[in-house]
């Protein structure tokens, strides 16, 4: 076997005076880091396997564990930093594409952090959301260009399109069953139902057990068409065509056969143990016209009762593409930015392809307004939304709602260790292993997710109140409530935001 030249990334420190050899860490680690030496009655660690997911740290009953970054320093070299060196070592040992999980971890600018919000002082009153009503309800879908009423009869001549209400403008991103366990799917579904929002199946189909949450479910139709059948479409509130994903624009998906258990196979409608391959493009979509055919095929199949969403990765021509998507008949355009996460993607793609969601959102909203078609579709953004301020800023930039994936998973235990692609998630999230998947108790996880949404709702209301706005609708696309700090003229121009102080 090839000798690895990779040093351990983390060091497991065990406080011997506190360790009681209870072996909880041994049982909890999904990566076999901890082991018990019976002869010496001592628990030890294989540091080189540690991914710093902190499961053992959190579960240790005596707080005996600390995980530290291996302080091993390379000779200082701005170009040849540790990561660049280690990636080459890994590739020279495996000859393969490097895989990773979660979202882009590079230091691209985070524009949310360069945008600040307004508040009322003296000349217009702020509103106390605890004393006065505050409206967060959002409707997703297509609005008519104009409303025509027959004044003789008082009847509406305009044919209304289906709209979906959200009590909080935050939905759960697409994460497929197979990438995550059924327990996580159930937790997301239950939380969305309780909080009055939507969750997204991802491209792996909808398990039979979860059909009862259909009225809060977005079902995806992706390039692999996994699990798509009439019942699946009928069960949903929204149907989403997945063209791309922020973590891997232009790249397909691959769920390895080991993860395709009997249940996953039945839900995806593929043979057990076979690799589930999602092609990079939809093989029937090579133009906006082709996309339009699929959109209308899905609308026909669902009798025009559900909005159809089209999700794309934020790429250079996002604005023009979004315009085409709206003209093709989509009721919702979902855009996933460069920080969007994944269960598995080539590291080189995740870290280098796509554009920041803030810029994509601003340009898409601007373009749709200029073309007079902004009313024809809702805009949903995803990819790295971390807190309620990011949500408010997104809405002020023009979004109707946001998707959260990583934030939702963090609320149920994820520590963003980026080892999703291994399927050994110690937190029982990104795995279909029945021993690990039990770690997510849907009772607890759905409660935590609802708590997160409730907390964000309160914070959004506080921020709106401060701005003197009593409905989220009034903030949507209102970029005058934003100011930029530390941005160039070009950045400000693309964001459509003025410099702070001006």
């Amino acid at each position: 076997m090839l000798k690895t030249y990779l040093p351990a990334r983390f060091i497991v420190e065990r406080n011997a005076s506190r360790c009681i050899q209870c072996q909880v860490c041994v049982r909890q680690c999904g990566f076999d880091v901890h082991y018990y030496d019976e002869e010496d009655d001592e628990v030890r660690a294989r540091d080189e396997r540690c991914v710093a997911c902190h499961r053992c740290v959190v579960f240790c009953p005596t707080n005996a564990l600390t995980i530290r970054k291996n302080p091993l320093d390379y000779r200082e070299n701005f170009n040849w930093r540790g990561e660049a060196i280690e990636d080459i070592i890994k590739q020279s040992e495996t000859g393969g594409i490097l895989l990773t999980g979660m979202g882009n971890d590079k230091s691209y600018p985070i524009y949310w952090d360069k945008l600040v919000l307004n508040a009322s002082q003296v000349t217009n009153p702020s509103i106390d959301p605890l004393r006065e009503p505050m409206e967060l309800r959002t409707y997703l879908g297509r609005r008519p260009d104009k409303v025509e009423v027959d004044w003789e009869t008082g009847k509406l001549n305009t044919r209304l399109t289906p709209l979906v209400p959200l009590e909080v403008p935050v939905m759960f991103s697409a994460i497929s069953y197979g990438a995550i366990s059924l327990n996580v799917h159930e937790s997301l579904a239950r939380a969305a139902s309780e909080a009055g929002t939507l969750w997204n199946t991802g491209e792996g189909g909808l398990h039979k057990k979860l059909y009862k949450y259909g009225s809060n479910t977005i079902v995806q139709v992706a390039s692999g068409r996994f699990g798509v059948h009439p019942g699946y479409l009928d069960a949903a509130r929204v149907v989403e065509i997945k063209i791309g994903q922020g973590a891997k624009p232009g790249i397909g998906g691959h769920l390895p056969g080991e993860k395709v258990s009997a249940e996953v196979a039945a839900t995806r409608m593929i043979p057990m143990g076979t690799d589930a391959l999602s092609p990079a493009p939809h093989h029937d979509i090579y133009s906006i016209e082709d996309l339009s055919q699929l959109i209308y095929a899905l609308k026909e199949a669902t009798n025009y009762t559900k909005p159809v969403s089209v999700k794309i990765a934020a790429v250079h021509n996002a604005a023009a593409i979004a315009s085409g998507i709206v003209r093709a008949g989509a009721d919702i355009v979902a855009i996933d930015g460069i920080r969007g996460a994944t269960g598995a993607a080539p590291k080189i793609i995740r870290d280098n392809v796509g554009i920041p969601i803030e810029l994509a959102l601003a340009s898409v909203d601007q373009r749709l307004r200029e073309e007079g078609i902004r009313n024809q579709a809702s805009v949903v953004v995803a990819g790295g939304i971390r807190n309620s301020a990011d949500v408010v800023k997104a809405i002020a930039l023009g979004a109707d709602a946001v998707y959260i994936g990583t934030a939702a998973l963090i609320s149920i235990g994820c520590h963003v260790c980026q080892a999703c692609y291994t399927g050994r998630c110690s937190w029982g999230i990104a795995t279909t292993d029945s021993y690990l998947a039990k770690r997510i108790n849907p009772d607890i996880a759905s409660h935590r997710l609802v708590n997160l949404l409730r907390a964000w709702s309160h914070e959004i209301k506080e921020m709106l109140g401060g701005m003197g706005v009593n409905a989220l609708e009034s903030l949507r696309g209102n970029r005058l409530h934003l100011r930029g700090v530390g941005l160039t003229d070009t950045e400000l121009e693309i964001l459509g935001v003025r410099m702070a102080g001006s």
């Binding site: 005076s17 506190r18 050899q21 209870c22 909880v24 108790n441 607890i444």
Partner: protein, 145 residues
């Protein structure tokens, strides 16, 4: 009466119930001392077979065979609370209770020639330690399951 019921579908086999049971039944009630200095014994044991696991402790049966079969009256049922208790001073180590327990909960204490300590539902606590400290709510303390 309230009993501890396991939910095997969410038991993750971490055995923190065992750890906290030991601590609760130690003199010091300190987790490090309970393990390092005292010979405290857990009264709950996690049964495990692959992904299937659950915590097992005395079921405090309404018809306790262990009490009926006890030669000396060491095993008795508290008439007020209904808790099945064991008095080690009266136990002669005949282990009949071990034989009759339908759940296999009771264990031998060979060194002291009696049975090992059994679940007492933590009389000093509102909720037994194993239930209060289960990280995945795989143990519930309730009138019925």
């Amino acid at each position: 009466m309230k009993r501890v019921y396991p939910r095997e579908e969410v038991c993750i086999g971490c055995r923190l119930c065992e750890v906290h049971c030991k601590v609760e039944h130690s003199r010091s009630k300190d987790v490090v001392k309970a393990f390092k200095r005292e010979q405290s014994v857990a009264r709950v044991r996690v049964q495990e077979n692959g992904p299937l696991s659950f915590a097992l402790q005395c079921r405090h049966c309404p018809e306790p065979y262990c009490v009926y079969s006890c030669l000396t009256g060491a095993m008795h049922r508290d008439p007020g609370s209904g808790v099945v208790k064991h008095d080690p001073d009266r136990c002669v180590g005949c282990w009949t209770c071990v034989l009759v327990c339908p759940f296999g909960v009771l264990v031998r204490d060979v060194a002291n020639h009696r049975i090992g300590p059994k679940c007492d539902l933590c009389p000093d606590r509102a909720v037994p330690a194993c239930v209060a400290n289960c990280p995945n709510e795989a143990l519930v303390y309730a009138e019925e399951a």
